[in-house]
Assembly symmetry: C2
Homo-oligomer: 392 residues x 2
């Protein structure tokens, strides 16, 4: 048996989910769509407005007669905050319930050179900055890490070995917010199916190229987690022939073939500024693109090698997961115009329908966006966790 | 709004699911577990008995005092029929709703040497034999094929290329029963999670060794189908280093390394009776096991090679799907005692927790059992599809 309070909370959640999935609509339409009475819906909308979760606005519909309709839609009163700890940067993004980015920052940082507690202190400061500089009240933080997690503890992190065993939530406890932790590519995959061109796609593989190579898999509409939460890991599989040593201690891992290091080594000599890890990654990638556009043979050949390696490995993933689309993120998306042709050629030699590859439009924000979506989820599960004064 | 008939049908389904998932129980307990009144449950049970779907029996509980309790449980009034078309055999199994095998047969058949229409005529005759020789009324047929299907049409079948484009359901239309079609390894994976030691396991990979090698993946409690229904295919991936030509036209596919042909070629010369495709497969595998147990070096070496190849490839699957268990079926299970050590060694060198490998206890019946489960599913979805006279 549900108590009255539980019924009310479930009805608030149903109304909110309806507005999220189908967009703004009139109160009358919301009643029809939720199967609730108009009186109940009116009362629910009033409460959701008071909690800062929905807003009402007059909308003039071109061509319609009579007074303008009043539509109810999600509001920006609260936000979720995504944090990404990667090998060479820290990123933070605040996304409000209405889907607007309220704040974002990305800072180059030599993460392996610092202790996790120091990195998390910086992350905490960035989150505080994000909260101070926009009005939406933060409801939670989700941290993306380049590795596997169980609960809030890092279990595997081939490119950040010093982080294994770190309880990331504990390091951010000073924020006084709920903190969850996830794999960067998993969160990026969730971002891709949450909004944008692939919103709602039930079967999608997301590949992110950074120092490491990560994979996130959505299958049958669910994130593939596996029995220990470590599913979908692709970077340290021998998906392509190769024998180069990997940071993880093994040889021939896929990221030794298609990771950022492989591109930079193939494209530039050791003393080339491209290889300077102190320079901002986007600057360096911009230079790779500039050289490729100028027709530099070595750069083009290096990029073609990455594309082919991606295609050979992606063929395995396409055969196993049969996704509607493989989305390339991270550095793959930045240099994507030079990867797609060799990638599709390698894929077409191995699987049917090699067209199912797309470049992410989220840039390096995919993981923090996905994190922010996850941080907002508890509000959709139970809107009453947001206090009534949130809109004040 | 649900009509009264829909509510009744949903309540019948809820009662049936409850008995399937938790086993026999008293009417009073069934009322508690379904949240329905005792009067409603009594009426539901009466109807389910009339449809042949449940039975009531007095049960003496040792140590209990008073009159014996009467328990309600699933009955054997109806059955689902699984059919498997494989490269060298046809199999049929009738499984009743109570989980009892009512009929089974397996017939060696040179399937590639016949036209699909001829093979389906034989399958149809075997299904008729299964129906004639036991009393449970058949509610449907599900056919397992060694390939990918869309709807009831075979889309890919590397080891039965003549079947591509075949509408299997159309070929069995003469039975007058609903016919569905699935991939053999997918259906086997469903059989593994439906009953037996892995019942209810949410993340499981099933590998079947036959002439081909098939994979079925259950992740997050769902069968992984993918966007076109062709997910989970493993046999034609280059999961292990190798360059041998494959029946599919490519080179180095996993089944050229671990398929039945690879074992027999490594274990025996071409004129050895083991290599005679006309002999029954189980007889030949029995001889492989006998030779291995007798310590024959060539046989042991061949089996170790298969085990290692399985471990190298399974490492990729374990990393991607993170299953609680990888179940080995088909010929892998028959010779499994000689595969497990080298398999686990290869796996342990590549992934954490190499213990998650088990041999199927279903023998060559996994696919037909899974098919029978799928054929029974519509009864669980809506028990009223079974006529009231079914128990007569």
């Amino acid at each position: 048996m549900q108590t009255q309070g539980q019924v009310r909370s479930a009805n608030l959640a149903a109304a909110l989910a309806c507005l999220r999935d189908g967009g703004p609509r009139s109160r009358a339409r919301l009643a029809t769509d939720t199967g609730l009475t108009k009186a109940t819906v009116s009362s629910l909308v009033t409460e959701l407005v008071e909690r800062g979760l929905v807003a009402e606005g007059a909308v003039h519909r071109p061509g319609s007669v009579g007074r303008p309709g009043t539509l109810v839609g999600l509001a920006g009163g609260v936000c979720g905050i995504g944090v990404e700890v990667n090998v060479d940067y820290l990123a933070v993004l605040a996304l409000d319930l209405a889907g607007q980015v309220r704040w974002e920052s990305r800072t180059a940082l030599d993460v392996p050179g610092l202790r996790p507690v120091e990195v998390l202190a910086r992350a905490s400061a960035l989150v505080s900055e994000a909260r101070a500089n926009q009005a939406a009240a933060a409801v939670g933080v989700t941290v993306a890490v380049p590795g596997g997690v169980q609960g809030s503890v890092v279990r595997t992190a081939p490119n950040l070995p010093g982080w294994v065993g770190t309880d990331v939530a504990a390091g951010l406890a000073g924020l006084g917010l709920p903190v969850t932790v996830g794999n960067d590519a998993d969160l990026s995959a969730l971002a891709e199916v949450s909004a944008g061109p692939h919103a709602g796609v039930p079967d999608l593989v997301y590949l992110t190229g950074e120092v490491g190579v990560g994979g996130g898999v959505v299958t049958g509409g669910q994130l593939l987690r596996g029995s220990t939460g470590l599913g979908g890991e692709v970077g340290h599989l021998a998906l392509t022939p190769g024998d180069a040593p990997c940071g993880c201690g093994r040889r021939g891992c896929w990221e030794t073939v298609v990771g950022l290091g492989a591109l930079l080594r193939a494209a530039a000599d050791p003393d080339d500024p491209l290889r300077d890890p102190g320079r901002d990654l986007e600057d360096r990638l911009g230079e790779v693109v500039a050289r490729a556009r100028a027709g530099d043979a070595r750069t083009l050949e290096a990029l073609a090698g990455i594309g082919t390696g991606l295609g050979v490995g992606a063929a395995v993933l396409v055969a196993l997961f049969d996704p509607a689309v493989v989305v390339l993120g991270g550095y793959f998306a930045v240099v994507g115009e030079f990867l797609l042709d060799p990638l599709r050629a390698a894929l077409a030699a191995r699987v049917e329908d090699a067209d199912r590859v797309a470049l992410s439009t989220l840039g390096f924000t995919a993981a923090v966006r996905g994190g922010a979506h996850v941080a907002l989820q508890p509000v959709f599960d139970n809107p009453t966790i947001v206090p009534l004064e949130a809109s004040a």
